[in-house]
C-alpha cells in the first residue's frame, strides 16, 4: 500500500494517470462516444443537465456514466487511503457562480480543458486557440492569487455532507439504468425527463459498463495523483513546477498515438467534430473558463474528484456547472458547429466581469 501511494504521488505516477486517460478517452470514442469527446467533463455534465430537463436541446441529453464514475472512483480512493474528509463553507455562492460561468465559457469553446487536449490530439487545431485562452485566463487568475485573492477557509463538516454528492451520482446511475419518465403530457401520458437524445452527440455513447469502469479507474487514479489541467498550467506560471504538467503531456501524447492507431486523427481548423472555428470566441470562452477554474482552485475534472473526497465546495462548483449548462442552452449562449450562440459573446463578457470582481474583492489576510 505504501509503495502504491509513493508511486502515485511521484512524477511517474501522474504521468501514468495521464497516459491512462490518453489511452482510454480515444477508446471510449472508438466504442461509441462522440468524436474528440471520449472524455469531456463540461460536455458530459451538459448532457446530464439535458437528460434531467434543465435544458431542452434535444441532441445533447444523456446521463453520462463517466461523470458518475469520476466521483465514485475518487470516493473509493479517498476512503481506501483515508483522505475522505467532509468539508465546506468556503464562499459557496461564489463557487456556484464560478462553476456556472466556467460552464458557459467552456460551452462557447465547446469543451473543458480535457476535451481541448483531446481535440488537439485528434488534429483539431482550434484547440490550440482554446488552450491559449485557457492559459491566459489562468495567468489572470495567478495575478489575483499573487495579490492576495482568497475564497476563505473551509471547515470540517459531518460525514453525510461529504456523501451527498456521491449519493446524487448513484441516483443518476439509477436514472440512467431505469430511465423513469417523470413528466406528464396534458393527456397524462408519461414523458421525460429523463430525456435521452435520439440523434446527435447525446445519442452517441459507449456501453454503460465500459464507460463506468474506465471512469471509476480515472477517478481513482486522479484522486491519488491530483491530476488537474488547470493546476498544471497554474503551477508552471505560479511556482515554476512541472509536476502536474507532466500528467497532461501524458494525456496528449497517448491520445495522439491512440487516435493515429484508431484512424481518428484528422488535422485542420475546419469541419472538426462538435467544434467551430471562430478564433475570437474560442479564445475568450476559454479565457473565462480558465479564470473561473483558477479562482475556484481546479479544473472541472479536479472539482469532481474533490467532490468524491467530501469537498462540499467543489461539489457546489460542479453543481453550478450543471445548472450553467441549463442556462447556456436555454439562453442561446452555447455554441454549435455553426459558431457562437446568439448570446454567447455577451455571456462571456458578463462572466469575465463577474470573475474580475470576485478576483478584486475576495481576499483574506493569513498570518
Amino acid at each position: 500500500m505504501a509503495k502504491t501511494v509513493q508511486f502515485l504521488g511521484s512524477r511517474w505516477g501522474i504521468i501514468s494517470a495521464g497516459l491512462f486517460v490518453g489511452v482510454f478517452a480515444p477508446l471510449l470514442q472508438h466504442w461509441g462516444n462522440p468524436k474528440n469527446m471520449g472524455i469531456c467533463v463540461a460536455c458530459m455534465e451538459r448532457d446530464i443537465a439535458g437528460a434531467l430537463g434543465l435544458h431542452r436541446a434535444a441532441v445533447v441529453q444523456y446521463i453520462r456514466p463517466e461523470i458518475i464514475g469520476f466521483v465514485l472512483g475518487a470516493l473509493i480512493a479517498a476512503i481506501l487511503f483515508r483522505e475522505f474528509k467532509p468539508r465546506g463553507g468556503s464562499s459557496p455562492i461564489i463557487r456556484f457562480f464560478l462553476g456556472l460561468f466556467a460552464m458557459i465559457g467552456a460551452l462557447v469553446f465547446l469543451g473543458c480543458p480535457w476535451r481541448a487536449l483531446l481535440r488537439l490530439a485528434g488534429g483539431d487545431w482550434n484547440a490550440i486557440v482554446g488552450l491559449a485562452g485557457l492559459a491566459f485566463g489562468i495567468w489572470i487568475g495567478v495575478l489575483f492569487l499573487k495579490s492576495g485573492y482568497m475564497l476563505g477557509r473551509s471547515t470540517k463538516t459531518g460525514s453525510f455532507s461529504g456523501l451527498v454528492f456521491p449519493i446524487v451520482m448513484i441516483v443518476l446511475l439509477l436514472f440512467l439504468l431505469f430511465a423513469p419518465q417523470f413528466g406528464r403530457t396534458p393527456e397524462g401520458t408519461p414523458t421525460g425527463p429523463i430525456f435521452f437524445s435520439q440523434k446527435g452527440p447525446g445519442s452517441q455513447h459507449a456501453p454503460i459498463v465500459v464507460s463506468l469502469i474506465i471512469a471509476l479507474c480515472v477517478g481513482f487514479l486522479a484522486q491519488r495523483t491530483r491530476l488537474c489541467t488547470m493546476g498544471a498550467i497554474r503551477d508552471v506560471i505560479l511556482i515554476r513546477n512541472t509536476h502536474l504538467l507532466s500528467g497532461i503531456i501524458g494525456i496528449v501524447i497517448a491520445a495522439f498515438i491512440m487516435n493515429l492507431i484508431l484512424g481518428q486523427f484528422k488535422a485542420g481548423f475546419s469541419d472538426q467534430p462538435i467544434a467551430h472555428a471562430n478564433h475570437l470566441w474560442n479564445f475568450l470562452g476559454m479565457v473565462l473558463a480558465g479564470l473561473a477554474f483558477a479562482l475556484a482552485g481546479g479544473c472541472p475534472g479536479r472539482q469532481l474528484f474533490l467532490s468524491g473526497e467530501g469537498d462540499g465546495d467543489a461539489a457546489i462548483f460542479a453543481t453550478g456547472m450543471i445548472v450553467g449548462a441549463g442556462f447556456a442552452h436555454n439562453f442561446s449562449m452555447a455554441s454549435s458547429p455553426a459558431g457562437p450562440g446568439a448570446y454567447g459573446p455577451a455571456s462571456v463578457i458578463v462572466g469575465l466581469i463577474f470573475c474580475i470582481v470576485v478576483g478584486f474583492t475576495m481576499r483574506e489576510i493569513i498570518s
Binding site: F81, S90, R153, I366
Partner: protein, 76 residues
C-alpha cells in the same frame, strides 16, 4: 532539525489549493533562510508544499497530528 524561531507559524488549514503553497512560498521568499512551520489539513497541501520546498532548497519535516499535518521547513 532545530526549531529556532517558533514565532514563524502559518495556519493554512481549510485553505483550498493552491493557497497553502502560496503562503509557504511567500514566507520562504520573505525569510530567505531560517525556520518556519505550516499547519495543513490535507495530503494534497502537504505534497504540494513538500515539492515546493525541495525545489527551493528547503529541508522539510512532516508530522501527523490527529487530522492535521505540521510541516517544519528549514534552510540554513
Amino acid at each position: 532539525m532545530r526549531r529556532r524561531d517558533m514565532s514563524e507559524k502559518i495556519d493554512a488549514r481549510g485553505l483550498s489549493c493552491p493557497q497553502p503553497v502560496i503562503v509557504a512560498d511567500r514566507k520562504m521568499k520573505e525569510l530567505g533562510r531560517g525556520v518556519f512551520e505550516v499547519l495543513v489539513d490535507t495530503e494534497t497541501a502537504k505534497e504540494n508544499i513538500t515539492r515546493l520546498a525541495q525545489q527551493s532548497g528547503w529541508k522539510i519535516e512532516t508530522k501527523q497530528e490527529g487530522g492535521d499535518i505540521r510541516l517544519l521547513l528549514e534552510k540554513t
